[in-house]
Symmetry: C2
Subunit: 374 residues, 2 copies
């Protein structure tokens, strides 16, 4: 089945929305944070561990799975859920972001047809088109597929962005035309950079194509925070209330709060697992770096307020030891904690929206989270 979004409540004091999404793999709550399993595995963490963190959707990268092991092997193995043993809904991106970011500029050619580029693994010449992206995602059998869009760098001229938005709209149509998996929903992506009128236009035209949900694209590409929040405002304004809204690639706790305030329902980011592998952990009073010698004899858990497996069973001293001798368990424990931290943040956000106190919650979270920065 296609997903179904239910708007349960809007906070009376801002744009924050409480909702649910009905999926092939159960009903999930929004606002939600989606951990990222780039190559069909959330780095260092088992599917059961992710579930225990309270995950709903997880994300997998079409580009990476297309290259290895290939969408046909995933399909042969029964689709992505069975392949990676995740008993919950999965969202796949379009592959566009990786093509635009991993391929070197000189080896990349953006045409109306799609993007010609060289594989970052072995240099093979490849072409990713809107149709191909959807075809791959159809085979991966994720619950939500994303339209293939152009991801322009930041900043670009108004003229470039206008042409890019036009092309992204044509690509969105082409992708929608070939989409053929009845159990998969398809999201459109709003682009337009920091230009308000282009965002508005991109938004209205994308909505006309009637997707199952909408994503705000082109953020977190180098712009400052104020610009990013304005992009969200401009992108969300003309989106329908009865469809979920997804802010791609955003996982900083404060950015999640800013996004929720503006009406975003879904977030994803590699941040919690990536920083974990380098020893960095979220706490209520900001990020800490467990490589630091100060944690050598610290018997406390990473975060005393946390209910995750790592915080219930291990000291900072032990995790610091694991990180410093490069034991795999170290990155795994911090990954579990960081994922749980962001998912718990969304749980608290949902409780706050229900009681129309989101703005208070946001303010008190940020006050504590930034306490050591003052």
């Amino acid at each position: 089945m296609k997903i179904k979004y239910n708007l349960l409540h809007k906070d009376k004091n801002c744009g924050a929305r409480l909702g649910t999404i009905e999926t092939n793999y159960g009903v999930v709550d929004t606002p939600m944070f989606m951990p990222v399993g780039t190559r069909g595995s959330i780095k260092g963490v088992s599917p059961e561990e992710v579930k225990k963190c309270g995950s709903g959707f997880v994300l997998a990268n079409t580009y990476h799975l297309w290259l290895r092991p290939g969408e046909d092997i995933v399909a042969y193995c029964g689709g992505l859920h069975k392949f990676m043993h995740y008993d919950g809904p999965i969202l796949t991106d379009s592959g566009g972001f990786q093509v635009f970011s991993l391929a070197k500029d000189k080896e990349k050619d953006i045409t109306e047809d799609g993007v010609h580029f060289k594989s970052h693994i072995d240099g093979t010449k490849l072409l990713l088109t809107p149709e191909k992206s959807i075809e791959i995602q159809n085979k991966l059998d994720s619950d939500i597929a994303m339209s293939f869009d152009e991801c322009p760098p930041y900043p670009v001229t108004y003229e470039y962005m206008k042409k890019s938005v036009e092309r992204t709209l044509r690509w969105a149509k082409r992708g929608k035309n070939v989409h053929s998996n009845p159990n998969q929903s398809l999201f459109g992506i709003v682009q337009g950079g920091e230009f308000q009128d282009l965002r508005e236009w991109s938004c209205k035209e994308t909505v006309k194509l009637d997707f199952d949900g909408y994503s705000i694209g082109g953020t977190s590409v180098g712009e400052d925070k104020k610009t990013m929040y304005k992009m969200i405002d401009d992108g969300v304004r003309y989106l329908p209330e009865d469809k979920p809204r997804y802010l791609m690639g955003v996982g900083d706790p404060i950015d999640i709060l800013e996004g929720v305030e503006r009406g975003i329902d879904m977030f994803d980011c590699v941040l919690p697992t990536r920083i974990a592998r380098h020893g960095q952990a979220f706490t209520r009073t900001g990020k800490i770096n467990l490589n630091n010698a100060q944690y050598k004899k610290d018997l406390r858990p990473i975060d005393e307020e946390c209910d995750c497996y790592a915080c219930q069973n291990y000291s900072r001293a032990y995790i610091r030891h694991l990180i410093s001798v490069q034991e795999m368990l170290g990155g795994r424990l911090i990954s579990i904690h960081n994922i749980r931290f962001l998912i718990r943040l969304t749980e608290e956000i949902r409780n706050a929206i229900k009681e129309d106190r989101f703005l208070n919650y946001k303010a008190s979270f940020i006050k504590k989270y930034t306490i050591n920065k003052k």
Copy 2:
């Protein structure tokens, strides 16, 4: 408390023994395989996952924990069990094997006092003595500590080995004299290389010192299998029946069977986790290498007869994918499987001994395990 070994049954047709060891952390069955947590973590696997594999004792390396994080930090954190969150008995080695194998020959000086060597991490000059080894292990608070012995290379002359055995006996006495942890048992180590009379002598003299258990040292150092099995025979012959016998560093399934036949109760090895990280997995019909392209579309579990978490939930195709894209979960899944494989082997061994059919079991296991080698 000290450990207590109970001999429950001896197979009527060979030296195989069924027993239990009472420990501070419950009663465990022998023969037993002990997974190795070199730096206080079984590589890639959580303590709960090891327990689910059926583990009794796990092993940790004194040398590595001495260098990082240091035994005082482990003691400050409440000892090794609490530090690494393992709710079962732990055995620590003496550090001798690492000192002898990791330090370069030119940077190593064996004196009557102990071994002067340089840290493999930063070149710091260090001295490990029998007393120091026991003192570190006392602080680590493992359930079984090992005596500090000389591990001569293979082969050495009879004269060298004789002097080495004499020194190892003096070191064993010195270590025993300073051992002071009432909750920790202490094992002696039988040396003597391939020389039958030296093994006999080492064995008898070590037993006179009255340890809580005995280990056969100096195997798996380059000798052929026939010599190794003879070393076990020569080492075990004069050991008391009421104490456990431990064959250090042995984890090949066939070697475990050969050891059990000769009366060994305990085995440890990094093999199951080390080969796992390179994609190699045990199966009933021998080892397989999951890097091989033949597993790309193999929907079967690693081993169809296995009851482990990896085999219950994942295909060879998926694990092969994880290994080929270097996702951590790959090594973790194979590690879980390989540990379970060896522990399950010991479970079957115990059932066979109980019914006096160990030799039949051994023959049929080996026949199947080597079927592809013919």
